[in-house]
């Protein structure tokens, strides 16, 4: 692959990963915590109604995991397409 083709393929792979991560980002906050909150509130875990838990706790934990997941997958993509630093 030429450098330009590599860069294009890298960008495409990045966009695919990005969209997947953003889908999760949307689902746990806007989905479970807001739009479907009443449905999820039917489920009780300990003293938490699940929708309320996603809105005030769960979405935040998943955001953290999501960023580190993305960062580590991107480090692998950087090397795979030979566009890494150093």
């Amino acid at each position: 692959m030429s450098m330009n083709e590599k860069a294009a393929a890298y960008w495409k792979a990045n966009l695919r990963l990005l969209l997947g991560c953003l889908a999760v980002w949307f689902l746990v906050s806007y989905g479970f915590g807001i739009l479907l909150v009443d449905v999820f509130n039917q489920i009780q875990i300990g003293g938490y109604k699940l929708g309320f838990w996603f809105a005030q706790q769960g979405s935040i934990y998943i955001f953290v995991i999501l960023i580190f997941f993305y960062a580590s997958r991107m480090n692998k993509l950087d090397r795979k397409f030979d566009v890494h630093e150093d």
């Binding site: 807001i34 003293g47 935040i60 480090n75």
Partner: protein, 589 residues
């Protein structure tokens, strides 16, 4: 030792620490002044970003907002954390690769136009000053309550300290000071939370306590809280608060606004590599999440304690409400600041605290209990600050909370002042007005600009345009509607051109500004009542930045279609920032 002396000592020691760090980390070049020489370790940068980000609003106001809004308060929790996902995925790594000093610089280069850069400077100054005014106000409140000086003196002392380390140390000084401030503020926030969680539920971890039983009873805290508040005519804690569309819009506006705030973005210019920018956003969110997952517990526990204090007996029974003369000491102390007020409307010498805006319940309370209206007003800002006193914690905890509140306000103020000064000395002066200026003069100009910005911020803190929370809503809406779309399109689209970006930013900015002023008034009288029936699509001014953002995208796209495509070197620039390879460790100008 009495509380006041102890507070002076703790706050004094924290100030000495910040100033010591500033002297140690004095900036010697423009690179160090603007972006700390791009040599900050990603974990430390994450910690500094956490302190930079968590302002007086997060530390002082947020738990109180959640306490009174319940589920509706989730907008702040999700909104002010989810933005980091957008930052890490969509903005930070590319801006780090671009490798310059400021946000307007990126916009100016990408859209090959000094006009675009100038529009970005205007947006940045608007956003940062509205935000900084809120911080100075927070410093004033903490000083006046804990050190018993008036708000003006408090403001002056706060300005003096920020002046010293922001002007002297620049980004390098601010970064290392913020690391220290993070430690102070997170300790100050979690220690009382742990104590109170343990007192009420027997579980010391606040995140778990919120889902636990009330100590000694076989009922969950949240269920009991729902019961207590609905019995007094309030809406249930775990639901209600705001309409779904409004919750959606506000959360999105806060998330996107977070990702578009210049003082947050610029933090990711300070790390050595592109990959560090990605992980550093993750670390920042870890450090932020420690506070943000504790806050809902603090809010619920504070609300629970407040009702337990003023309504010790059964609702409506003759001796159920607290006798005013027997109120606890913390209530007396906060009454002096006028942030908590009692008015004996039915003349029985007892405090009736309930929701008299609920017509049905108010009528019932009147005929059955003889209550003539709610008698207690509690400012939401005092919930976190009064919490340790309500829970009867030792004095050193109270002193620590004071130091933490000041740390939160000062760290954010310093970060904001720095982006203001950089946009003036680097973007306006060197970039547009005097391109031939020497590095030494530019550094001096940066310091002078920071000094002037401190003075303006102090003035705004003394004469805030509207209430602090409203002012902050401004900053997020404006960032979401102006800077975020321009940066995002600059990275992810090669087709958006100069004309599209400029007109898009202007439309987004003025639409959002106009909508907020229309309902909130700020410098003029509001032109319409701020109620749901009057809102566009049922979206409140806090959430309207989302519509502004959408307009910005649409306008930029349409205008770019009908005007000349960006020149070829811009296409190469975009291709270049999309791959990490070749990012310099330090950019020479």
């Amino acid at each position: 030792m009495d509380l006041k002396t102890l507070t002076y000592i703790v706050v004094g020691l924290s100030f000495a620490l910040y100033i010591g760090i500033a002297i140690w980390a004095k900036a010697k070049s423009t690179g160090e002044f603007y972006v700390a020489g791009k040599g900050v370790h990603p974990v430390l940068n994450g910690m500094a970003t956490g302190a930079d980000w968590m302002s007086a609003a997060s530390f002082i106001s947020m738990a109180g907002l959640i306490a009174f809004l319940g589920y509706g308060g989730s907008v702040y929790l999700m909104g002010w954390t989810g933005g980091y996902v957008l930052l890490a995925l969509l903005l930070a790594p590319y801006l780090r690769k671009f490798g310059k000093f400021t946000v307007p610089e990126f916009i100016g280069d990408r859209y090959y136009s000094n006009t675009a850069r100038f529009v970005a400077i205007i947006c940045l100054i608007f956003i940062s000053f509205t935000y900084v005014a809120g911080q100075m106000r927070g410093v004033g409140i903490v000083f006046s309550r804990f050190l018993e000086v008036d708000i003006t003196t408090g403001l002056l002392v706060g300005m003096g300290v920020v002046f010293f380390y922001a002007v002297l140390g620049g980004m390098k000084g601010v970064t290392y000071t913020q690391v220290a401030q993070y430690v102070v503020l997170i300790f100050a926030y979690t220690v009382p939370a742990v104590f109170i969680a343990f007192q009420v539920t027997g579980n010391p971890i606040p995140q778990l306590a919120l889902g636990s039983h009330v100590a000694g009873e076989n009922v969950y805290l949240l269920d009991k809280l729902n019961h207590v508040v609905t019995e007094l005519g309030f809406s249930a804690y775990t639901s209600g608060g705001k309409s779904m569309i409004d919750i959606f819009a506000i959360t999105l506006a806060l998330m996107v606004g977070t990702a578009g705030l210049p003082h947050v973005i610029v933090r990711f210019f300070t790390v050595p590599r592109v990959r560090d920018a990605r992980s550093s956003a993750g670390w920042a969110l870890v450090f932020i999440a420690i506070l943000y997952t504790t806050a809902p517990a603090v809010g619920a526990l504070a609300r629970y304690n407040l009702h337990a204090t003023v309504q010790p007996g059964a609702v409506g029974s003759e001796t159920g409400s607290l006798v005013y003369q027997e109120r606890p000491d913390w209530m007396k102390r906060w009454e002096e600041t006028k942030l908590i007020k009692f008015e004996d409307k039915n003349g029985d010498g007892r405090i009736q605290y309930y929701n008299d805006a609920n017509k049905e319940f108010a009528a019932k309370a009147d005929t059955e209990y003889g209550w003539k209206g709610n008698e207690l007003t509690v400012d939401k800002d005092i919930m976190v600050l009064a919490n340790p006193e309500i829970a009867k914690l030792p004095n050193w905890v109270i002193a620590l909370v004071a130091a933490g509140g000041i740390a939160a306000a000062l760290s954010t103020a310093a970060g904001l002042l720095l982006v203001i000064s950089a946009s003036i000395s680097h973007d306006l002066l060197k970039g547009i007005v005097m391109p031939t200026i020497s590095e030494k003069s530019e550094l001096l100009a940066g310091r002078v600009a920071a000094a002037v910005a401190v003075l303006v911020a102090g003035y705004l803190g003394y004469n805030p345009p509207g209430f602090v929370a409203e002012v902050v809503a401004f900053a997020f809406g404006l960032a979401a509607a102006s800077l975020f779309p321009a940066i995002l399109m600059g990275i992810f689209s090669k087709g958006i051109n100069r004309e599209g970006a400029i007109i898009g930013m202007i439309v987004g900015l003025f639409f959002t500004l106009g909508y907020i002023i229309y309902f909130k008034g700020v410098f003029i009288k509001p032109m319409a009542e701020n109620i749901a029936a009057n809102w566009l699509f049922g979206i409140s001014p806090e959430g309207i930045g989302v519509v502004g953002m959408a307009l910005n995208f649409i306008v930029a796209f349409v205008v770019s279609k009908v005007t000349a495509a960006p020149p070829e070197h811009i296409q190469h620039l975009v291709e270049d920032i999309r791959i990490p390879k070749g990012a310099g460790t330090a950019v020479e100008h």
